[in-house]
């Protein structure tokens, strides 16, 4: 029987062991966890499990660590003498021991022999690792070894590998992995590309070793992740998504970042990565690299195929079938393998072989077959990039960047000097790539479908990121039209900039404040330069991420003061740390969560780490004595959370010892739909509500904002979202200010709508401040309010857009 802190761990270990004895089941009982999710051990439950497992010939008990051992010993005390004598507490490592024990027991061995084999199970691993890894010295516990078998259909491909790497990086430990089945070398678990090189296929065994202070936690975390199949089984399969409105080919997409761009098409995929002149690592390893790369690309293509079939129709998805077939093309693969066997490294072998095949298509008569050369080079590049661990290339030449979609990393290198605009086949306006494009002022249209990918490099294209309009190879007259609109927008921008620092009021005299969202000292300078009335959101995460210890109150205070100084006396809305399971802090390792966006994040995370929050509030209070400060609490879902934070804020005021700072205001972010609906109950405890429309939208529509397949769903103008914003305004009833600090506030067209609902403060990226202020000045509140009320009854976001465009 198995005793473990974690029921999931115990079940997984048993499942693993049971695989060894198909057809000859060995009775295994589990006593693990206090319940399904609470870790812990229970001696009484162990006693019961021992009694259940004992068929008269005794029980071998395998335990994980710590209290599992103590509780098992105590359980023996609770048994009667005869039963106790039939129980062996076995000191073998849980997983190896269990596998060996089950196999031995299935062969009919008695409990002593079973326990002996279990203890001996570590010998195989010790011998296998030879001199590489001395057994950890008794009692220090700084090294851990374990293994897991990958059961997911495509092996440890990009997505599960990414989860594994994220998990491994969350601990203060050096974690290494190797493919125990192929006998690969050890690679750092912190490197996605290195983990990908392990080429872990279904059924492969992966060995884990770790050193450092949190070695054990790191290994436990990885095993738990593996036991949960790397989260791969969730969200797969049938997903009933309403059929999105039919989308044209190239011609109209989803507007993602306003502005006009004109320029030649530059495919992100057209840049050939440089192949380093390194020697072969040996044919076997190079074959492994190639397999890993094609497996990864295959998986990516399948994902794109599914998304395309769903969004734009089966007909457009065929192209991916052709690409998938190429990955299994025997001629191509035989050629690559032969080159690898001759001592060529996999990247060079792959590049040369694909070029040979493409060149053969090039010379064919049939135009359809000639077109396949494009496909071969396209797939060839994807695999080559994967082989080299290179992301999609940076933009080779100035123009309009065209890509399937942009990962956050790719979008981060978007350069406004080179990228006049961005056109994406997939992606959503709320994806990180689109948000970054907006931040940098690069016009973007997304969700154009795969047709855009087939437009040849260098073809002139014009786009309007405000309307979603895209024209390929525009006629001169069309081009002139776009250029005129661009010039008109530029002059409007100039006019807005000229009066940006003046306060903004609607035509009928209602004043609204426009703040800037700030995530660094540089942003704060940009905010002041943009004419923002205040910093409506200061993200403090940059102080906490990518370091080994939390900043103390002194360090935080110094940085907040720099931001305050850059803002020149404007109010700072300092948001408490907004992190969670999706971006864990190295020094506060968190358990892997199946769904981090619904997990311990925002204020939940801060209240779980009260000392961290206390330090941050102390730094806030100290700064608040010298400049006006608003404290903003993210991800609030209950009144109790606000009460807790207010109590801790009172303690921080007492700790600072200078009384309550004069301009101190307290507010929360409304991101959770339930919170929006509880506004009236929350109002007595806050001075303001700031609606984070990005998260509110994804929670309200149950559509993750990064998920390209759901781009059409996650729209902040959805009437359901607007009703939640309306609920906040009505719940606050003028007793607390209502602000919007999400992406929706940057949408000039949405400004009258928000003002009409009762929003009185907007906080946007610094460069949008002048335009948003002008949008306020152009608003007639008396006219906007009834339009906003009608929008609440609209059937969908498109109808809302049509309504406010009038």
């Amino acid at each position: 029987m198995v005793v473990s802190h974690s029921r999931a761990l115990a079940r997984a270990a048993v499942a693993l062991a049971a695989e060894m004895t198909q057809g000859q089941p060995v009775p295994i009982e589990i006593a693990a966890g206090l319940d399904e999710t609470t870790t812990g051990t229970d001696a009484v439950a162990i006693t019961t499990a021992i009694q259940a497992a004992d068929r008269g010939d005794g029980v071998v008990v395998l335990m994980d660590l710590g209290s599992a051992v103590l509780s098992a010993e105590l359980a023996l005390d609770l048994l009667d003498d005869a039963a106790r004598d039939r129980v062996v507490l076995c000191p073998a490592p849980l997983v190896e021991g269990l596998v060996a024990a089950v196999v031995t027991a299935a062969g009919g061995a008695g409990r002593k022999e079973v326990a002996g084999e279990a203890v001996g199970a570590l010998a195989g691993k010790l011998a296998h690792l030879g001199g590489q890894q001395a057994p950890p010295p008794e009692g220090t516990g700084t090294d851990s070894d374990a293994e897991f078998v990958v059961r997911i259909p495509h092996g440890l491909h990009a997505r599960p590998a990414a989860r594994l790497v994220t998990q491994a990086r969350g601990f203060d430990a050096r974690v290494e992995l190797r493919n125990g089945t192929t006998g690969s070398g050890w690679v750092p678990a912190s490197s996605l590309s290195r983990v990908a090189t392990l080429g872990v296929l279904p059924g492969h065994r992966v060995d884990v070793r770790a050193s450092g202070p949190q070695a054990r936690e790191a290994v436990d975390g990885i095993l738990a992740l593996a036991a949960a199949d790397f989260g791969e089984n969730e969200g797969e399969g049938d997903r009933s998504v309403p059929e999105p409105p039919a989308r044209a080919e190239v011609g109209a997409g989803v507007p993602a970042s306003p502005g006009i761009a004109v320029g030649p098409v530059r495919h992100a995929a057209s840049a050939v990565p440089e192949i380093p002149g390194e020697p072969s690592r040996g044919a076997e390893q190079e074959h492994g690299r190639l397999e890993a790369a094609t497996a990864t690309v295959r998986d990516e293509l399948r994902r794109l195929r599914a998304a395309t079939a769903r969004e734009v129709g089966e007909g457009h998805a065929d192209i991916f079938d052709a690409h998938l077939l190429l990955l299994d093309d025997a001629d191509l693969l035989d050629d690559v393998r032969a080159r690898i066997d001759d001592g060529t490294p996999a990247p060079r072998a792959w590049a040369d072989a694909t070029e040979r095949v493409a060149a053969e298509f090039d010379v064919l008569e049939d135009p359809y077959l000639r077109g396949r050369a494009f496909d071969v080079r396209d797939v060839g590049l994807q695999v080559l990039r994967t082989l080299l661990g290179a992301g999609a290339a940076a933009m080779p030449e100035a123009g309009v960047l065209v890509a399937s979609e942009l990962s956050p990393a790719e979008a981060a290198v978007l350069d406004p000097e080179r990228a006049a605009g961005v056109l994406l086949a997939y992606g959503s306006p709320t994806s990180h790539g689109a948000i970054l494009a907006r931040t940098r002022g690069i016009p973007a249209v997304v969700g154009l479908g795969p047709a855009i990918l087939e437009v040849p490099d260098g073809t002139p294209v014009a786009l309007d990121g405000g309307t979603g309009e895209v024209v390929v190879a525009p006629a001169d007259a069309v081009l002139t039209g776009f250029r005129e609109r661009a010039a008109e927008q530029a002059s409007r921008r100039d006019r807005a900039a000229a009066r940006a620092t003046a306060p903004a009021a609607t035509r009928d005299g209602e004043a609204l404040t426009v703040g800037a969202n700030v995530g660094s000292v540089a942003d704060a300078r940009a905010a002041a330069g943009s004419g923002a009335d205040l910093a409506g959101l200061v993200r403090t995460e940059f102080l906490f991420l990518d370091r080994d210890a939390a900043p103390d109150a002194d360090e935080q205070e110094a940085v907040y003061r720099q931001i305050a100084e850059a803002l020149g006396g404007r109010r700072l809305t300092l948001r408490t740390l907004d992190v969670g399971g999706d971006k864990p802090l190295r020094y506060l390792p968190a358990a892997a969560e199946a769904n981090p966006f619904l997990g311990v994040r925002g204020i939940r995370h801060s209240l779980a780490h009260p000392r961290l929050l206390a330090d941050q509030l102390l730094a806030f209070v100290r700064v608040a004595h010298d400049v006006p400060v608003s404290v903003m609490v993210p991800m609030v879902s209950t009144v109790a959370e606000v009460v807790d934070v207010r109590r801790m804020l009172d303690e921080a005021v007492a700790r600072a010892g200078r009384g309550t700072p004069p301009g101190l205001r307290v507010g929360i972010m409304t991101e959770v739909p339930a919170t929006a609906l509880k506004t009236a109950a929350l109002t007595p405890y806050v001075d303001f509500f700031s609606i984070g429309t990005n998260d509110l939208t994804q929670y309200a529509l149950a559509a993750e904002r990064g998920n390209a397949a759901l781009a059409a769903l996650a729209d902040g103008l959805d009437p359901g979202v607007l009703r939640l914003i309306d609920a906040v305004c009505r719940g606050a009833g003028g007793r607390a200010t209502v602000a919007v600090c999400g992406e929706l506030a940057s949408d000039e067209a949405a400004v009258p709508l928000l003002a009409g609902l009762g929003v009185r403060q907007l906080s946007v990226v610094p460069r949008m401040v002048p335009l948003v202020k002008d949008a306020i000045r152009a608003t007639d509140l008396a006219a906007a309010a009834p339009v906003a009320a009608r929008a609440l009854d609209a059937p969908d976001a498109a109808a809302v857009r049509a309504l406010i465009a009038r």
Binding site: T38, S67, L70, S71, L74, G139, P213
Partner: protein
């Protein structure tokens, strides 16, 4: 004998211990977050809350029955290593209490020592390992010494509390050699041990409930 520790007194002791644990739940967890897995306060509070509920149905039972019920409840509800450790302590105390309706001072000291012996046997820890043994051992020794010196339980128990507190403070500079904290090695030094802290509360609860 001026004092007899009967079922009512044992109940009062356990209730006071539960109150102290609940009141200091945050402190215990905070201490544990420095060198352990940040659950000692939560775990002990969950356990003692369950004990209080269980005691409601045990009115009129003997001290041994109450102690046994406490031990079994802790074993099933605490979860962490303190479950089997405190559980063993109370189960051993129950065995040492026998079936008497009341315990005199000397018998109570023996009961407490049986608890200590149980913890030592279960955890294989000794004084200096930075565990609950570091506080409980001097407390039990001080209790024995004070009783041997002729002091009544009402004075001997406060002496035991002082000894426990000293033992608890002495864990601060120690490097942990048992439990999860031992993985931290040298870095466990400079932190007060949460187990030594909670077991000091157990002794303090005895002084308050039994020493009057």
């Amino acid at each position: 004998m001026t004092h007899s520790v009967d079922a009512a007194a044992v109940t009062a002791w356990l209730r006071e211990f539960a109150r102290l644990v609940a009141e200091n739940k945050g402190l215990l967890t905070e201490l544990d977050s420095a060198i352990g897995d940040a659950d000692h306060g939560t775990n002990m509070d969950r356990g003692m809350t369950a004990v209080l509920a269980a005691l409601d149905g045990e009115a009129g039972k003997s001290p041994a029955a109450l102690l046994k019920r406490t031990g079994m409840t802790l074993v099933s509800t605490v979860g962490g290593a303190s479950g089997p450790l405190y559980g063993t302590a109370f189960l051993r105390m129950a065995a040492a209490a026998g079936d008497a309706d009341g315990l005199d001072a000397g018998s109570f000291a023996k009961v407490l020592r049986a608890g200590l012996d149980g913890v030592v046997a279960r955890g294989k820890a000794e004084v200096g390992d930075k565990t609950m043994v570091d506080a409980l051992t001097p407390a039990v020794d001080a209790l024995d010494a004070a009783l041997a010196g002729g002091q009544p339980l009402g004075e001997a128990l406060p002496a035991a509390v002082r000894a426990a507190e000293q033992g608890r403070e002495a864990t601060i500079p120690l490097v942990a050699r048992k439990g999860r904290a031992s993985y931290l090695g040298e870095r466990s030094a400079g932190h007060q041990d949460p187990g030594a802290t909670s077991v000091t509360m157990l002794v303090a609860a005895a002084a308050k409930a039994l020493g009057a």
